[in-house]
Point group: D4
C-alpha cells in the first residue's frame, strides 16, 4: 500500500479529484492531508488553549498544533504531493516540500505554467512536476499498478 500526503492549496477541490480518480482506478492508497478547514487551522490554538491578544502568538499557538498533524502524516508518507496555486503566499507548502526532501520522501509538485520559474528550486528536487489531478493519478496508477 502507498501512503500519499496531499499538501498545499486548501481552497480548491484538487484533493477530492485525486481521491475520486484513484478510487475509480481502485488504487491501493492511504491519503492524508493537513487540516483543510482554513478557519480551524487559524484559530485552533486560541480556541483550545485560550485567546491571545498578540497576533504573532495567536498564530504561533495554532501553527504548532497543526504541526502535530503534519509531522505525523509526512513521516508516514511514501509520496508527498504539493499543490501551488496563485492565491496566497503558500510558504507553508514550500516549507513542507523542503522538509520532505530532507527526509528523502518522493515529491510530486503540482502547479500551472505561470508559477514555473518561481518554483524552479522546488521542482528541481521533485520526481515529477504535474499540471493537474489527472496527471497525478496517472503517475500513481503507473507506479502502483504498472498501468500506462
Amino acid at each position: 500500500m502507498f501512503n500519499v500526503y496531499l499538501s498545499g492549496e486548501i481552497h480548491t477541490d484538487w484533493r477530492d479529484e485525486i481521491k475520486k480518480l484513484s478510487f475509480e482506478k481502485k488504487l491501493n492508497i492511504f491519503f492524508s492531508n493537513p487540516e483543510l478547514n482554513h478557519e480551524y487551522s487559524d484559530r485552533c490554538g486560541n480556541s483550545i488553549l485560550g485567546e491571545e491578544t498578540n497576533q504573532f502568538w495567536s498564530d504561533h499557538k495554532s501553527a504548532k498544533i497543526n504541526l502535530i498533524r503534519t509531522r505525523k502524516v509526512i513521516k508516514e508518507a511514501d509520496i508527498v504531493i504539493v499543490k501551488f496555486g496563485n492565491k496566497y503566499k503558500q510558504w507553508n507548502a514550500a516549507f513542507d516540500a523542503g522538509f520532505c526532501i530532507a527526509l528523502n520522501k518522493s515529491l510530486i509538485v503540482m502547479h500551472d505554467d505561470s508559477n514555473q520559474h518561481a518554483l524552479k528550486e522546488v521542482d528541481a528536487s521533485a520526481l515529477a512536476v504535474v499540471k493537474n489531478a489527472e496527471e497525478v493519478v496517472k503517475i500513481l496508477s503507473y507506479v502502483i499498478d504498472g498501468k500506462l
Copy 2:
C-alpha cells in the same frame, strides 16, 4: 566557531549589514550564502552545459547546479537565517527553511509584520523571528559571546 548560512532575499544588502555588524563585534562566525547574482543563478545551467529551448528544463538545469552549493552550506551550518521580503514569491527560501528544520538546524526567520500571518508555519519552527539585521547580530552576539 559558528557557521551561519544566510538564505533568502538576494536583491537587498541585508547580508552585508549582518556581516558588517558581526565584524564590528568581532564575532567568530563563518558566513555562507547561496549564489547572490540573480542572473548567474538563473542561467548557470545553460551557460555551462548548453542552451535549452524549453524554459522548464533550462530552469531545471540551473536550479540543480545551484543545489550543489546550497546543500553543502546548509549541511555545514549551525544556524540558518532566512530572510523573506515582499518582492518575488520566495518559495525557495521557504523550501530551504523546511529542509533545515528536518536536519535539526537552528532557524532564525527575518521578515516584517506584513508577512507575519503568511509565515506562521515557518515561524513556528524557528528559534527566533526577527525584523532586521540588528536583531540578528544581537542574537549572534548573545549566543556566541554571552553579551546582551
Copy 3:
C-alpha cells in the same frame, strides 16, 4: 492511528481522564505509559534479580529494567505527553521530554501556572503547553479528526 505515550506524574489519575475523554470522542489512539505502580517501579530490580544492600545499585537495577519499557513506548510514539506536578522532583519526566525531542517526537507538556517559569526550557521545545486533560483531548480530537 495515533500512538500517544503518557509520561510523568504517576500519583494522580490524569491518564484515566485523557483515556476516558478520548474514548467518549471515539478517537483512534493507542495509549502507552511507564510503569504506574510506584512501588513496583522502585523495587523491580531487587525483586527480580536479587536484593542489593547499596541503595544506588538497587535503584540502578530497577531504573534500567524500567528503561526497557520506556524506550520501546517512546520509540513507537507519535505524540508524547509529559505531565509535571508539584510533588516530587520529576527529573525523569524532564529526561523523557529531552529524549523525545532529540528523536523528533511531537511533545505536549502539561502543568499549571506555578511551574511555568521553571519549565520554560521544556515548554520551548513543545508543540503545545496545556493545563489539563480536557485541553489535551481537544488537541487530540482536532489533530486526529479535525474537529474543533
Copy 4:
C-alpha cells in the same frame, strides 16, 4: 581533543573548579557551557526582540534563543556533564541529559546523595555518577591521558 559540555546548575562555581583542575593536569579539552548569567538567560528574548507582557511568551522567546547555543554545544560534545543541586527545579538540566542520551553522548551526572533516589532514571543512563569536581577531573584525566 575532547569536547566537554558542562550543563546544569549555574549559581555555584563547579565549572571553574573543573576547568582549573583540568588546566593543572594539562588535559586537552574544549569546554562549553550554557549561558551562565541567570538574568541574561531569562531576559534575552525581551531584551533583543522586544518586551512581552505575557510571562509565558516572554520566557518562551528567551528559552528558544538559549536553545540556539545549547543545541550547538551539545551536538559538538563528546562528553556531557550535568550537575544537579538542591536549589531550583533544574528540569532543564534533566531535559539536557535526556536529549544527550538520545544522541548517544557520554553522560556524567554530578549530584550529592540527597538527590540519589530522585535521579535514578538519569543516573541509569549515565556512564558515571560523581559527587564533585575532583572526581570529574580524575575521570577526564584517566579517559584522555590514561592516568590514574
Copy 5:
C-alpha cells in the same frame, strides 16, 4: 514475513522462477520489482506528462517517475536480489545495488561466471553471490524456514 526486492534484468523470466519455487516451498515472502515492461519504463514520462523532443529530458522524466516506485520498494525491502545478464549495460542494476548497501540492506547478486571479474566490487558488498534462481530460493528457504 520477508520483503524481497527483485532488481535488474527485465527481459528474462528469472523473477517468475523465483516466485514459483518460493510458492512451492510456501515461503512467507512479499516480492516487489521495478516496472518490468521495458517500453512503459522508457516512455512513462512522455506518455503521462507530455512529449519531449530532447531524448535526454525524455529519459529524465521517465527515469524519475520510475524512481518513485523503486525508492518505495527498496526502502521496504529486507533482501535485495540483483540479477546481472549479458545484454544491456545494466548500470541501473549496479546503481540499485550501491544504493541498497548504503541503506544496509542484505544484498544477493545473481550472475554467471563470465561477469565475475567485472562485478567484483558489487559482489564484495553482497551477502551471497548466486548463479540461478534455484540457489536464491534455497537461500531464502534456509534463511526464513531454517531448511537446508
Copy 6:
C-alpha cells in the same frame, strides 16, 4: 507486541524455557532466533552455493548467509537477549551484542557468575544481567504486563 531476539548459545534449551514460561504467562511476544542447527549454520554456504576446499572461504560463505537472517531479526527486535555459556568462544554472541547496542536495542545478557569478569564490558551496556530463563521471563512479564 514485543519483538524479542534470542541470541547466543545454541546447544542448550534456554530458548525453549523462555518461550514456555512466556507462553504460560500469556505474554504477547514475537520471538526470533539465529539458525539453531549448528551443522546447518556451518555448512549452509557449501551446501547451497557449492563446496569450498579452503576452510576460511567455506566458513565465510556460510557466515554471510547466516547474516541475512540475523540482520533481519536484530533490526526488528525491541529486546535482544544474549546468552553466554562456558562452551565455545561465542565471539559471535558478543558481536551481536555490540551490533545491537550501536542500534540502540535494549540488551539483556544471560550468564553465570564464572563469566562475570570477562563479560564486564558487555554487561556494562546491558539493561539487565540475568542468570537464567526464569529471571528473563520475570523481566518480560514486568515490562510488558506490569506484573511483579
Copy 7:
C-alpha cells in the same frame, strides 16, 4: 573547502585534466580518487594476504581492501563525480553512484551521448550531467567561487 571524489574510469587522464584546470582557477578543493593502478587494484588482496587459486575469492579479497579506501573518501566527499566511458562494464562506477545518492552526496555524472539512454537512471539522480572535464570545472568554479 570542497571535498571532491573522482570515481569511475581509470584508463584515461580525465582526473588530471580536472585537477589541472581547477588549479589554474585556484579553486579550493581537496580531490580524492579510488586506486588508479588497475593492476594493483586487482591483485592487492593476493599480494598482501596471500595467493588465492580461486578467481572469485582472489577478486573478493582485493575488492574488499579497495573498499576501505573508497568508503573513506566517499564518506568525506561533498561532491562525487562519476565518469563512464565505453570501455569495460564499469558496474563499480554505477555502484559508487548509487551508494553516494543514498548518502545524499551531490552527484555529477560524466559521459558522452552514446551512453545517455543506458545511464538514464543514474543521470536522473545527478545534480549535473556533463560531457567533459571543462564542464566539470566550470561547475566547480561557479559553485565554489560564484564565477560564470
Copy 8:
C-alpha cells in the same frame, strides 16, 4: 588523514609494531586505542569513585568509565583493527567489532588460524582478515598511499 582504532588484545605489543612500521612508511595516520593498562582498566571505577564490595558493580563502574574513551575513539575512527589472541575470552573485542560494523566502520580482524572457525561471523563482516602487524601495515600503506 586516516583515523585508526586498535582494539582487542592488550598484553602483547602488536600496537607498537603497527605504529613503528607505519612510522617507517611515513603513513599519515592518527592511532587510538583503549586503555592498555589492564590493572587500570579493571580498577578505575573503584579508584576514582570509591570501592565497591560487590565484584559485579565494581566491574560495572570501571567498564562504564572505559566506555567514555572507547565510544569517542570508535566514533572518530575510519578503520577499526581488532586483534584476537588465545588468552582470555576477549568478548569485549568481539563486542567492539559488532559495534563498529553497525556504525559502518571499516573493520580489519587480526588472528591466527587456530581461531579461524570461531571467528567466522566476525570475519564475515570484516573488509580484511590478517595474521600479523606486517599485513595490517601493508594494507594501510596501500589504502592510504597506493603503494603495493
